[in-house]
């Protein structure tokens, strides 16, 4: 899962970065409002974690701009403001969730994951293609009632392909989704991940189109 964290406090930013990375998230960071909004506009994220009080541009303005540019990425707002009215203001301007500081990291992670689930699977925890079942909340893949054990990248890749089922997914899309800009990887790593995934779930599920990319079909 690829998330963007827009937070100006250095310590909170680095904390969230570490925490999410350890759970296999692909994390990108922005430390002020301008950068954050720009990144959210040009890149695809699964979830955006947005602080309210930011230099250059505050969280509410970013929300408004993103939503008016019809960017529908789920957004969870963080803020030291804990009044009901502040929460309502955030939600009204297009936030999908709101968490007051100080929060528990576990709770934030759970909420981010829940936003992600809702965004990719219309509410249900299970995505199914042919006889492969992907349980998003348990992060388990089951084929013919047998569990297939995947590593984090393979699992993320499969989710990404399921999300874009019946559509062509290119190498660069996969790279952007699974690896952050700071990871310098070559296309070999992507090939290897694809190769391993295909080997584990069965070659026929992921069709490869030379020079174009990959596709999962219903």
């Amino acid at each position: 899962m690829k998330i963007l964290i827009i937070e100006d406090d250095e310590n909170i930013r680095s904390l969230l970065h570490r925490g999410f990375i350890e759970y296999g998230f692909n994390v990108e960071l922005a430390e002020d409002g301008e950068d954050g909004e720009y990144m959210a506009t040009i890149n695809q994220y699964d979830v955006i974690v947005l602080d309210w009080m930011l230099p250059q541009k505050n969280g509410i303005d970013i929300l408004k701009n993103l939503r008016s540019n019809s960017i529908k990425t789920p957004i969870i707002m963080l803020s030291a403001k804990s009044d009901i009215d502040d929460k309502i203001l955030g939600l009204k301007h297009g936030a999908d969730d709101y968490l007051s500081k100080p929060f528990s990291f576990k709770e934030l992670r759970a909420r981010v994951e829940s936003l992600y689930r809702r965004a990719i699977s219309d509410g249900s925890n299970i995505m199914k293609i042919k006889d492969i079942e992907l349980n998003i909340s348990l992060k388990r893949v089951i084929k013919n009632s047998e569990e297939i054990s995947l590593n984090l990248k393979e699992y993320e890749l499969l989710t990404f392909l399921f999300k874009h089922k019946n559509a062509m997914v290119s190498n660069s899309m996969i790279q952007e989704q699974l690896w952050s800009n700071n990871d310098f990887i070559n296309s070999n790593v992507i090939q290897v991940t694809i190769y391993n995934l295909r080997k584990k779930i069965g070659k026929e599920y992921i069709k490869s189109y030379r020079g174009l990319g990959y596709k999962v079909e219903d």
Partner: protein, 348 residues
């Protein structure tokens, strides 16, 4: 037995006293008349005396009733505002200061009384509001360091780690704890002195000496940013002041001037005496937008809304300065131009 109603008590007393007075007067009048009978025709005199006696018997009660009625009106006029005040006072609580008493139209003591009562409500309301705002600010300011501390602990404990990671994590927690400590120290400092207890702490001090002592503490910071301090006009000044507060004025203003200046700039400082003692500090820093100068001295106010922690601080410095200046019956004046710099003038 005590009668609880003031009005009834006053009326009873009044009735009692005036009846006695009337009877005494009639008695004396009657006696004088009887005394003078000897010289005149006895019959006509008796008739007259009787006539007077009867008139008095009728007149006195009527007069009494009229008087009591008038007195009752006067008492009502005084007591009604008091009843109103009692009612309002009962309605007032920490969470509800909406009531006040309608002012009487006559310009008298009662109106004065009502006015001061309403004034008191207003001042209490203001005080409670400021306290609320203050509590709100404090808890808000504590939330960011607390978020970091909580998060660090949670994430670090999530799985076994190398000792270097524990060290890093504990260092961050330590930093944030000091942040909280400093904030609380500043807040305590702000509430330690008041107008009523400040005079006891006054002693003769050399202000220029305090200034140099403070400047000495900023040596390293000045060197790091390559900022030059120009001492324009420093006079030897002795005055009875609170040295801790004076030091807080100098150090906060110098600290701000350094914090909000970019590298390789100048700071100009003067301290001299004319009618009053004047301290001027001028920087070539980032300046303050015009509409924000007013709010500068509010507690926790920071020009940059995000509370950008690249420039450390809680927005308490200038409220400490203002507080310290006011406790010395002085004044502070701030002028600023964005991207040009700021001048702060203190008169003590």
């Amino acid at each position: 037995m005590k009668i609880r109603h003031l009005k009834l008590r006053v009326l009873l007393w009044f009735g009692f006293v005036s009846s006695i007075a009337f009877f005494l007067i009639s008695f004396i009048l009657y006696n004088t008349l009887e005394h003078s009978i000897n010289n005149k025709s006895i019959n006509s005199m008796y008739e007259m005396a009787e006539y007077i006696e009867y008139t008095l018997w009728i007149l006195v009660p009527i007069l009494l009733i009229i008087l009591i009625f008038l007195v009752s009106r006067v008492i009502d006029k005084v007591l009604n505002p008091i009843k109103e005040i009692t009612k309002t006072a009962n309605e007032i609580s920490i969470s509800d200061f909406s009531s006040s008493i309608e002012e009487p139209t006559d310009n008298d003591e009662v109106r004065e009384f009502v006015r001061s009562f309403n004034g008191m409500i207003y001042r209490l309301k203001d005080g409670v509001e400021r306290m609320d705002r203050f509590n709100h600010d404090v808890s808000h300011e504590l939330k960011t360091p607390l978020t970091v501390i909580k998060g660090e602990v949670e994430i670090t404990l999530d799985r076994p780690r190398k000792s270097a990671e524990y060290i890093k994590s504990l260092q961050i927690i330590g930093e944030e704890a000091s942040q909280i400590e400093n904030m609380i120290k500043s807040l305590l400092f702000l509430s330690k002195y008041s107008k009523s207890n400040i005079k006891h702490s006054f002693e003769f001090c050399e202000l220029d000496y305090i200034l140099f002592k403070v400047l000495d503490r900023y040596k390293i910071q000045l060197k790091n940013k390559n900022i030059n301090i120009h001492l324009k006009n420093i006079e030897k000044i002795k005055k009875k002041v609170n040295p801790v507060l004076i030091e807080s004025i100098f150090s906060n203003l110098i600290d701000n001037a350094i914090k909000y200046s970019n590298k390789d700039k100048n700071i100009y400082i003067s301290l001299f005496q004319k009618e009053k003692i004047r301290f001027i500090i001028e920087d070539e820093g980032i300046g303050i937008p015009k509409d924000k100068i007013q709010k500068l001295t509010h507690r926790f106010y920071r020009v940059d809304e995000s509370r950008n922690r690249k420039i450390k601080g809680f927005g308490l410095g200038l409220s400490i300065v203002k507080n310290s200046v006011e406790l010395h019956d002085g004044t502070m004046h701030i002028e600023s131009k964005e991207k040009k710099g700021t001048i702060v003038i203190i008169d003590l």
